[in-house]
């Protein structure tokens, strides 16, 4: 339990960032929703369109809405110039503000529609101008309902803000995503407790303001307002009070290997005197874009991934040729510096238990072809649709008795329990060593290579000191060393944190 408290206290900066993001989004939501609600109360078509739009936005999953702002902002660069950020705070703010719109707008419109018509007639009758009517009658009478809407929006926004981790905005989602990937439940719990606690506190304070407005008790709503303001000022000073350093931002996708390598790179850079910041848990699709736009400085990517997703190629020129072509393409197209390959692959590979492999006399995929019609293959849900499988099937003429889909975690269990004979493993996965599995070699090179490589953003491409600090990593990490580090984080008992696993990996490859 003490580990939990240590983690929770260590979340301070994420907590402050989370508050600043959520408060800005709610503030922007209010700024847009209230004038819109006033306009809607005076025009039925505006009310229909505004509420329809806000409801439509609600139907988009928050995760997708956040991700959608990347291409939107990217295309807006044509208007606002290259300086427009496409990841991090801005898209998170816009997506969350859109999300906050509906409850505020709906409550404000409903409150206006339900105002006593007699009171409104009296407001006109005593000679109020439109503005006086809004200020003296409509606003104070709607205020408790508007506040209830702001309260709902706040609780939603604080929850949804955890998802902004995936687009590179630090938040309380960082420990949640990192914990989910490394199955570190204490980390997940700490993130959830912090985020839920924040939501409850804010809900309580806004509830106080709401009741104060309803009972027309100035002390009550003023007290709530002051408490909210103090919390905000605290978060702002915490976030911006420290000296502004030029930090190297290292990205990690949502799996253990990426967290470990990011930590490994980070610790080397810190030793070289750099200030370092981690963007953990980025969506795989946004990492490359974030790098080319210099929103992040360093990423670790895989040749096969770039080959398929960025170069949009489906041929397989072989491991070395593929790497050289990618390196040239990245430098030519984006100014991204490909520092080098780390030395291991995280590819798809066909794995089976060591004893089964020995019993069947299997070493290569060619050996497998003969026995495959008697065996069951297990793959992750997308595997049998991927070019890797189609390529192997066609190159070797591979036919299995049965194909089964498993989630990645259960795939390995299926192999040990005998529900599958062969699985589509990931070659750097720690469980290959731990479960005593054999990965069959691929003499026809039907499987594309997935060499891990270090990429440096255009903005840092000329930093030779940076490149020099990372150069020792190139070619230094064997697949065995990587498997061991991954397993240290993924195993159920005696787990290591990614940082500890990175330190262990550094010692293992002689870099400490």
């Amino acid at each position: 339990m003490s580990e939990f408290w240590t983690i929770l206290i260590g979340l301070g900066p994420k907590f402050a960032a989370h508050i600043v993001l959520a408060a800005s989004a709610i503030g922007l939501g209010i700024l847009v929703a209230l004038p819109l609600a006033v306009w809607a109360s005076r025009s039925a078509p505006v009310a229909r369109i505004a509420l329809g739009f806000a409801s439509l936005v609600q139907t988009i999953p928050a995760l997708a809405l956040l991700a959608l702002f990347f291409p939107i902002l990217l295309s807006l660069r044509a208007v606002f110039g290259e300086g427009l950020p496409t990841l991090g705070f801005l898209p998170a703010l816009l997506a969350l503000a859109l999300y906050a719109l509906l409850p505020i707008l709906r409550n404000a419109v409903t409150a206006q529609a339900n105002l006593d018509p007699g009171v409104l007639e009296a407001a006109d009758g005593v000679g109020m101008t439109g503005w006086q009517k809004l200020r003296l009658v409509e606003a104070p009478l709607s205020a408790p309902f508007v506040m209830a809407g702001i309260r709902t929006a706040s609780v939603w926004t604080i929850g949804a803000a955890t998802l902004s981790t995936t687009i590179g905005q630090p938040s309380l989602g960082d420990p949640i995503f990192a914990g989910l990937q490394t199955q570190n439940w204490v980390l997940v719990l700490a993130g959830c407790v912090a985020s839920a606690g924040l939501a409850l506190i804010v809900d309580g304070l806004l509830g106080l303001i709401e009741r104060g407005l309803a009972k027309r008790s100035k002390t009550q709503w003023a007290a709530g307002l002051i408490a909210v303001a103090l919390g905000l000022i605290g978060a702002l000073t915490f976030q911006f009070g420290g000296k502004d350093q030029d930090r190297i931002v290292i990205a990690a996708k949502q799996f253990s290997e990426q967290y470990i390598l990011a930590q490994l790179i980070g610790s080397r850079l810190e030793k070289a005197g750099y200030a370092v910041e981690y963007r953990d848990g980025l969506g795989s699709a946004v990492v490359h874009n974030a790098l080319t736009s210099s929103s992040i400085d360093i990423s670790i990517d895989y040749t096969g991934t770039i080959w398929t997703n960025q170069l949009e190629r489906s041929d397989n020129p072989g491991r070395e040729a593929m790497y050289q072509e990618i390196k040239a393409w990245e430098e030519r197209e984006h100014g991204v510096r490909v520092l080098g390959r780390l030395g291991f692959e995280n590819a798809y590979g066909f794995a089976l238990r060591e004893d089964r492999a020995a019993e069947l006399g299997l070493e290569t995929l060619e050996d497998l072809v003969a026995v495959a019609p008697r065996l069951t293959i297990g793959g992750d849900p997308e595997f049998f649709e991927r070019p890797e499988w189609i390529s192997v099937r066609n190159a070797y003429g591979m036919r299995f008795a049965e194909q089964r889909n498993f989630s990645p975690t259960f795939m390995y269990n299926a192999l040990t329990s005998g529900e599958a004979d062969v699985i589509s493993a990931y070659t750097s996965d720690g469980r290959i060593a731990a479960d005593r599995l054999t990965v069959l070699s691929d003499p026809l090179e039907a499987l594309p290579s997935y060499d891990a490589m270090v990429l440096i953003a255009p903005a840092r491409a000329d930093d030779e000191a940076l490149a020099a600090a990372l150069q020792p990593l190139v070619g230094a990490i064997s697949v065995g060393a990587m498997r061991e580090a991954n397993f240290a984080v993924d195993r159920d008992d005696d787990k290591l944190s990614p940082a500890d696993a990175a330190a262990q990996l550094a010692r293992a490859i002689g870099l400490d």
């Binding site: 007699g118 009758g125 005593v126 000679g127 027309r216």
Partner: protein
């Protein structure tokens, strides 16, 4: 500022006292013909149409300064619409409403309405303001603060206790609320008082006493009052001129006396016959 306030108040108070002592002459008052009083309000061929429905069709008439006019008619006869065209809560489709020499639709609505008191059936007290604040709202809109003494005075005018100024409207009975509504309308020292079914939601006892009170205030403060009602008895008892409306037109324009004497035409007489028959039946039961 206080100096101007006093200067404004003094003539009104000196004016109030002798009239208050004077005997009531209301029901005997003759209709103020255009020859002996200036017309404060003139309707010139006023028409209000909602699509195919004509609410008010081609009404022309003038209201003399100081008169108490009742607009009587069945529901949907157009009497409320006609009244609301005075303070521009409704706009004529054609024709003109001239108030104190100016077309009402050529003026800033807010400015115009601050000169005209308005009392209506649903009262419309602002629920988030104290009774005192409700009464002071008209002057406040024009940028003047109403003194506590003046608020007390207005409350006393409508027979409410001054401490009531510190209450919220929801702590008041229906009759008390409408009294506050009347005080709010009087706070601006209106040139014209418009009342739209002002006592419609009140119980009969409250209704009768508040009706008498309004008539008394009309006389004391030398107001010009137009009251919309569907109750002919109320109109006959309070007004000195009764306009009967039917299907958007004025079908009778007479004094209560003339109406009781059988003038004004069929529709007016139908309306008069209701309270008359009730009175006769009650008188017969007493015998």
């Amino acid at each position: 500022m206080p100096k101007r306030d006093r200067a404004k108040k003094l003539p009104r108070q000196t004016r109030v006292k002798p009239i208050a002592k004077a005997p009531k002459t209301d029901l005997q008052a003759s209709p103020n013909g255009p020859e002996n009083a200036r017309a404060l309000l003139v309707f010139n061929s006023v028409r209000r149409q909602y699509g195919a429905v004509t609410a008010v069709s081609d009404v022309s008439c003038s209201i003399a300064q100081g008169s108490f006019v009742a607009l009587v008619g069945a529901s949907g006869s157009g009497k409320s619409t006609l009244l609301k065209m005075v303070n521009t809560l409704e706009t004529p489709s054609s024709g003109q409403v001239v108030f104190a020499g100016d077309d009402v639709n050529q003026q800033q609505p807010a400015q115009l309405r601050r000169r005209i008191g308005y009392v209506f059936q649903s009262i419309g007290l602002f629920p988030h303001m104290l009774v005192g604040e409700n009464i002071a709202i008209g002057p406040r809109l024009a940028g003047q603060a109403l003194s506590a003494a003046r608020i007390s005075e207005l409350l006393e005018l409508v027979e409410l206790e001054p401490p009531m100024a510190a209450r919220m409207p929801d702590a008041l009975s229906g009759g008390q609320r409408q009294r506050v509504g009347v005080a709010r309308a009087l706070a601006i020292e209106p040139e014209l008082l418009l009342m739209d079914e002002p006592f419609g939601a009140l119980d009969p006892i409250t209704r009768a006493s508040l009706g008498d009170k309004v008539r008394e205030l009309h006389d004391r403060l030398s107001l010009t009052t137009i009251m919309v009602t569907h109750d002919m008895a109320e109109a006959l008892l309070l007004a000195d001129r009764v306009l009967v409306m039917d299907a958007g037109e004025i079908v009778a324009d007479a004094t209560p006396h003339q109406l009781l004497a059988g003038e004004g035409g069929d529709i007016a007489q139908q309306l008069v016959s209701v309270p008359r028959q009730q009175a006769e039946k009650l008188a017969a039961m007493e015998r």
